[in-house]
Symmetry: C2
Subunit: 387 residues, 2 copies
């Protein structure tokens, strides 16, 4: 019989489509599930198709690594916003940041090689590592969900190829300190492994928290892979646009991978990305500030429930909390909240939290007034369930 | 030192960007290199962005497997054009057909599993197989570049997971007979392996040749994976749109893979694809017919050179020929033709032809008058080199 591969059986079933099916079966559900923003892309994005159409050459394949104008624009942004000095042959446009991560794993890992993820981790990272027969090694973050440097160092073996950080973090919403990111980057350098730095939420910082790019450190260039996304900041999710900054010696390897996978990132989306970068981070700043009030409202609500533990995240648009009730399983809670309270969240098991009942809630996907209504439903449901 | 993976070192350097670099260094070169069409997408594609923009939900992620309207339209097309009876949960939209192939390999192959390719093969297939640590097994086609059934059967081992066919073929331009495709499909069924059928050039048939879809056979559904592309027929190359028809039990596996890689195919491109499928194959029929005269012109020219062997391909827009001169290497010929005669082709080694000097020329990428000029340069160059 024609069977599926073992590698694909080892990959977890994606949680977002699963939760999506539950939402579809329960009309009227307010979703604090998927990680998207509620606002639209910059208006100038709507002018991108006409510019794209004006040159028939744009209908053919373009460069594997992205069109030159966009890469030049990214280079400028990286220098200005991230303080990452870079050369053009370190920049690759990807069809979303997940593709950037998969590119990185294929370029640096052989089967049975290990990649260290800080738990709770981003599920698609763990899935990508398993899908190409590598081994995700989970290292728990400390009680503030910051990297635990001692534990990371102890987890490195002779099969370790990289440590992955996500800051601002998905799913915890925590912004890693410059000190911690510097320490992780130095550790990687010293041990001859790569630092993969996922910065998809770079502009989503609250309460004075500041984003730091590890690749801005001196001597980071040869061992740091930085991943960026336009899905969140510019609401370009469905256009599939991200980019990666890689050590120059990796450029041709990424070209091979991307040629085999997608040939080139969609060119019309690259024209849209150009418009976003022209608009710059001042475009999303007011909306992100507006999300700050939703965040405060959310954290205030959670405080009223004694048997919920959470930290006060200052980044992204996630709150990650633990329900202290040993009788409850996370997926049960998620189902009950959807079916009985009309609000969707994501279970902690998707992020590697098998022990304990953890939930991720996203407050970025809805207009602040709707998000607050969803938060009310969530607090009401949690109070009734575990009061 | 932080090193690249062995798997990526084992993947060949993509030939199209390499030839592209040579073309860029020799301005005025006419390219018979890359496999694209010279004509533009249907006009209705230009209305797609406005339709996409009219619903802000389109800016968020959409279904991993593609938007429902497009999948319904594909289902209809498959029944009408390909005689493939199918259910909705057998159709997955991909960001190009290469992604469909990578999806398939990941879903059915573990490391060290074997996939049989008919040589000369399509380079990105071989690259994808190696990239995920599987083993491409080359089986030579027969003297007409049709599948050699006996050789295919003999190549099957207990590690074989699939046989791949590409018809109309890249790089040879040969259309596989219904009889041969049926035999390959039956062989796969009988031996418990998959048949991966790449049909990117389905509408590109000349001189009465007819395209046949193996998945239209009775009982093919559970072991046949069919790959389609909108890049060629509708000139949608840069939008990255393809789709795959898979056995229903594979649907969730493909969802896992695509969620990890691209999350969802670019949604604006899916709106463009919808317009193309509405236009249907009658859109490309006149242009494909026009290519027929270029094909005849090309074959007539080749006949004037005695030391060139070629067949008379009736599909796609490729001519694949052998230069009978043991002193010449294919890449030397390609370089010389670009530098001295201003015409670009692709060396046979990229398609697995290590013995002998083979060249692929594409006559689809240029307006017929320009293509003929390129063919003149090619014939002139070949005559001078090997006359």
């Amino acid at each position: 019989m024609q069977m599926l591969s073992n590698r694909i059986k080892a990959v977890q079933t994606p949680i977002i489509p699963t939760v999506g099916d539950l939402i579809a079966a329960n009309p009227g559900t307010i979703s604090l599930g998927q990680g998207v923003v509620y606002y639209d892309p910059p208006d100038s994005v709507f002018s991108a198709p006409a510019k794209f159409n004006s040159d028939p050459e744009n209908f053919r394949y373009q460069f594997v690594e992205g069109i030159p104008e966009l890469r030049a624009s990214i280079r400028h942004k990286l220098i200005g916003d991230n303080k990452i000095q870079n050369r053009l042959n370190e920049i690759v446009v990807t069809a979303g940041s997940n593709m950037g991560f998969l590119n990185a794993i294929l370029a640096i890992c052989d089967p049975d090689d290990e990649v260290i993820l800080i738990r709770p981790w981003y599920f698609n990272h763990e899935m990508a590592i398993r899908m190409v027969n590598c081994i995700p090694v989970s290292v728990d973050s400390n009680e503030d969900y910051q990297p635990d440097l001692t534990a990371l160092e102890e987890a490195i073996t002779n099969r370790t190829r990289a440590i992955v950080t996500v800051s601002p973090n998905n799913p915890t919403g925590v912004v890693y300190t410059q000190e911690n990111l510097t320490a992780v980057n130095n550790l990687c350098k010293q041990r001859g492994i790569f630092h993969i730095s996922d910065e998809a939420y770079e502009y989503f910082c609250h309460d004075g928290a500041e984003h730091f790019s590890a690749a801005s450190l001196d001597d980071a260039a040869s061992h740091t892979i930085s991943l960026f996304s336009l899905s969140k900041s510019y609401s370009l999710a469905s256009w599939r646009m991200g980019y990666m900054v890689v050590p120059e010696q990796m450029f041709l390897a990424i070209r091979k991978i991307q040629d085999t996978n997608v040939i080139c990132p969609p060119v019309i989306s690259q024209y849209a990305a150009l418009e976003c970068l022209k608009a710059g981070s001042s475009y999303c700043a007011p909306m992100i500030e507006g999300l700050g009030s939703v965040r405060k409202y959310f954290l205030g609500g959670l405080k009223t429930i004694s048997s919920v533990d959470h930290c006060s995240p200052t980044g992204a648009f996630y709150v990650f909390f633990r329900i202290n009730d040993s009788n409850l399983k996370d997926m049960q809670v998620v189902q009950k909240l959807i079916q009985d309270y009309g609000v969707a969240t994501v279970p902690g098991q998707a992020f590697g939290m098998e022990n304990g009942c953890f939930i991720r809630a996203s407050y970025g996907a809805l207009e602040p007034t709707v998000a607050k209504k969803g938060i009310d439903r969530l607090i009401e449901g949690l109070t009734a369930l575990i009061g």
